[in-house]
Symmetry: C2
Subunit: 699 residues, 2 copies
Amino acid sequence: MVGRIPVMDVSPLLDQGRLPAKATLGEPFPVRATVFREGHDQLGAEVVATGPDGVPRAPVRMTELAPGTDRYQAWVRPDAEGAWTFQVQAWSDPLGTWLHDAPIKIRAGVDVELMFTEGRLLLERVLDEHPGRLPAPEVAVLRGALDAAQDVTRPIEARLAALTSPELTEILRDHPLRELLSVEGPFPAYADRPRALFGSWYELFPRSEGAVADPRTGQLRSGTFGTAAKRLPAVAAMGFDVVYLPPIHPIGEVNRKGPNNTLDPAPGDPGSPWAIGSAAGGHDAIHPDLGTFADFDAFVAEANRLGLEVALDLALQAAPDHPWVSTHPEWFTTRADGTIAYAENPPKKYQDIYPINFDNDPDGIAAEVLRVVRVWMSHGVRIFRVDNPHTKPLAFWQWLLAEVRASDPDVLFLSEAFTRPAMMHGLGSVGFHQSYTYFTWRTEKDEIEDYLAEVSHASDHLMRPNFFVNTPDILHGFLQYGGPAAFKIRAVLAAMGSPSWGVYAGYELCEHVAVRPGSEEYLDSEKYQLRPRDWAAAEAEGRSLAPYLTRLNEIRRAHPALQLLRNLTVQATDDDHVLCFAKTAAGLDTVADARYSTGETPGAGVATAGRAGPARDEQALLETSEVTDTVIVVLNLDPHGARETIVRLDLDALGLPAANSFVVHDELSGADWTWGAENYVRLDPFVEPAHILTVRGPR
Amino acid sequence: MVGRIPVMDVSPLLDQGRLPAKATLGEPFPVRATVFREGHDQLGAEVVATGPDGVPRAPVRMTELAPGTDRYQAWVRPDAEGAWTFQVQAWSDPLGTWLHDAPIKIRAGVDVELMFTEGRLLLERVLDEHPGRLPAPEVAVLRGALDAAQDVTRPIEARLAALTSPELTEILRDHPLRELLSVEGPFPAYADRPRALFGSWYELFPRSEGAVADPRTGQLRSGTFGTAAKRLPAVAAMGFDVVYLPPIHPIGEVNRKGPNNTLDPAPGDPGSPWAIGSAAGGHDAIHPDLGTFADFDAFVAEANRLGLEVALDLALQAAPDHPWVSTHPEWFTTRADGTIAYAENPPKKYQDIYPINFDNDPDGIAAEVLRVVRVWMSHGVRIFRVDNPHTKPLAFWQWLLAEVRASDPDVLFLSEAFTRPAMMHGLGSVGFHQSYTYFTWRTEKDEIEDYLAEVSHASDHLMRPNFFVNTPDILHGFLQYGGPAAFKIRAVLAAMGSPSWGVYAGYELCEHVAVRPGSEEYLDSEKYQLRPRDWAAAEAEGRSLAPYLTRLNEIRRAHPALQLLRNLTVQATDDDHVLCFAKTAAGLDTVADARYSTGETPGAGVATAGRAGPARDEQALLETSEVTDTVIVVLNLDPHGARETIVRLDLDALGLPAANSFVVHDELSGADWTWGAENYVRLDPFVEPAHILTVRGPR
């Protein structure tokens, strides 16, 4: 049955409310519902969220999004990690009805004394119903209003004013009379730790870091966890939060690929780390060239010491010589001729890879994958970057992620799916904490505007974006032909447009040469060969963007508005190549603070697994403070020429004061300007393609 | 858990599937779902609908709406009235995978014999799995293909052709191998009798029909059921299906309204029929001026004899002298001064009406309303037009309509709510069979295009529109100032644009004078006074649109495409005042036939209440035949001047042949033309504002 005050079309609801909507500790998320009633009487609606501790939080009043829509919204901010539920509660609001009708009727001379009497009775009910919760000053306001309204010696208008004063109205709003209470829900949401939402990722191949040429043969010798750990201080100094490693397991010998994806490798060629498994071991083993588990543990410890978490690749496929192939041939597909099927996308063949068949022994393979994941978790890996999850059954991921969440809710999974929207959304819906996106391929202004709006407001409840500017697989044409300005443009867009962003090593050197025209593959791709880089020389020669990336990450850490997803609004400009968007956070400390303030250190998730949430005042985070953080990003998307234009800000929506009356500070150039609704900008990509403006308050 | 082959975002779902979606006996409705899977293998998806008899119908294969969307659709056509459910079933399709991969791989020389072997094994599985259901000719095709493909003496391409022939592919499509079957649902839908969807309504005040002036006093004397029944043959002759009567109950004496809504009636003024109740009785009584229950029964019998159903107004409000006010004062709102609250929308007052308070004694008032409804049902009323349902609790309607449906599923309720979309949709969602709409206020081309699309495709699962061209409350400015052409334009739009449409008596006389400029109220509104009309004189003088309305209803009855809601498509024209839309029905008899062919006569619902559906071959209606009906409506929306333009048809979507190759017949003028993708039209509203074109087949 519908409720007495109907509540319909509640959001966020995933799969009819059977799957939890995405939420994050400290991150406000919008709950919306269509709430309406018969006749002319007023209604009230609230969201009541219940934390993982089973304790309902204070109701948050919903407000109508636009007059006449009956669409209501409230922002809810989880103050603990774990499984939440939320209800929408709607009720008849006799106080609101009286406040709406009384001025109209009394001024029209209709039922004057009767309206005053009914008002008095309502105020007396407020005093009766909230005896313990009404502070003395509020009681005094109520009693004063009652006295003034009943004093028939005073003018009618004065008596009415006593009952409709702003301070009284506010008290009544905070202490409503709820009649005909109707409840819709509960519906589930799950609040993950802040790193699920906010983080800067850096991807590196440990075998390349510290790889050196053999003085005798000239052949490169693999780097190790020990040599790679020497790169970590620089990564941390750039302000990154996560260092992500491609697979570190033994690499297949059978059908190994050579440099540039060739089929005839030379004896010393290292092969692709994604062709996992050899006589040396499978997914639970470490490539002998990289070191031992002790070396890996030391690498993780050094990363954690520097404030970095280590993310590991989870690529569920096997080289032909993977131990699984002989011990568990049923985990692969055997064809009619008795051979095991290799990966293919007809007519393309990938003969160095056997895909896993999840249907022959679903329980067996699931248990084995969970075992493998737990091996790495036990060595300090609390983030997994999952390779091609869209080629495995969605139900498998739902099971695996639920299993891990049950015991280790701090462990996060990033979905590396570049496929159609239904699967991308499905993977997010069943539990992936973050997702790669179409960001790389959105390069025109209108495409970027639409996509920022989509990830922030349309798919935000089911998929958290991670904007990678490049990956070992994807060197977009924009970077191949845009020069260093293009690398700055994409870095600003990713770092400012999404609370999580990522960089693959070499980006700071503006590596931009593709294997052939029209390809998005790097020439001499690190996937198939070692690729040591001389970072120090690049920095010394001023060829490195490391200082620029460092500054972007500094700005991200300093500004809570940049640590949230659902607070982005696209702003108008007059030029087709100049993009502007704003992010604003009211009443929030940094999301990072929500984590760091608890004394939790990154990478220490093992020790804190299963806890209910940070030990802080649980109510505090649901309340708002007076602090507001607003960041306005203006970006020239054309790497080849200067652009000048007018930026037109929606000041009302941003909560900013009237035109030309506030100061903005450019976090990149250090300049201060007075801004308002319409602002001239000129951006020369050869100097600096972006303004990153923080609002400094009134002029 | 998601299914092995995930199925998400199924529609139509009302309130997360807790309320049944709207369906109608004989009317196809679309079931959609997002269906996708891992990797490159193919999938299949079907809708399995289960009838009120609990018997699942044959699966209907879903097809992808557009490539890459993963959004699938199938049309389902209920073959019985009552409670249905539907499931979406998805499965891995090894035949589809083989049919996709084999030509690519075999032509590329990859795994040639292995692909043939795998194809052979699949065909043998089809023969094994469908032994009883495969007719001999199909078995022969399969065996022939197997033999041809295995004959290694034949050219590779010929062997491949044997396995990919259209006739074999069709057999395989009809007899798929379903692996990894995943089921989503069941979800509810309720199939009402066809009159819920399709019907032409005529509203008349019985007291006006046959009212005559007292020869002595000159005062008008009320018509009766007896005199009103004499009007019924003309109503039936115009092709209407439903005659709708405003309230026929005793009218309050207290605070009675006079002509033109004045507050000082003369002694003989009849008052508003919506001010229900007096000493003569309440909602279960008949106004003494109209006659007795026996007279009413005779009126209903005469209507039924003519093929008309009688719809009665259900207006849940009371005049101050309604019997309820004294017997059940708790059913009204008593204010602080002890008076009963009259209706108001501050500062407006409606002192002739007491609104019912549904919260003081919800069970008591609900039982009384149900009793009243059953009184009229027992006198042959199977349709109720509910006055202002949006001023009563939605939950009350949900209860009342469920109670009535449980015992008398043929009884229909029309919602007369003109309010915000949330409530309009809510009323439809909880069970109202039909709804008044915003049609009256959509007069510009773009507004009408959007609104036709909305009611046909966006809200079709929760609300069936009834387009009334006028009501006693609403005389739109378009009719006040548009002359007879405006009346034709709105009639064509309503009668062709919606399967249900309605006319309030006097429309055919082009009554167009409002009580004052800017008002939508009629001058000398029939709500407050008797209004006899000289129909015969108007027809004799050629002033009546009755022949035009008759022709529209004839066309509606002859063309199944006009009896459906979800089959409308807006077509392009070059002129801002010329509208074009098309409706098409493939493989359907008239919806009316689905009713009439069972021997059920209109108004005979009492006798057939509770039956499971017409006694016809239940499978037949889910199958399609070769009959296709297409109607193209072109309408000049400007009543003041001729317009000429080009009409641009989307021939593919309409299933029509290529340009200038089919004949259309104008059902209004009788002319035939050869039409194609682009067609010149000229429409002079003073001659005829519309073409109603039926497609006659190829030239």
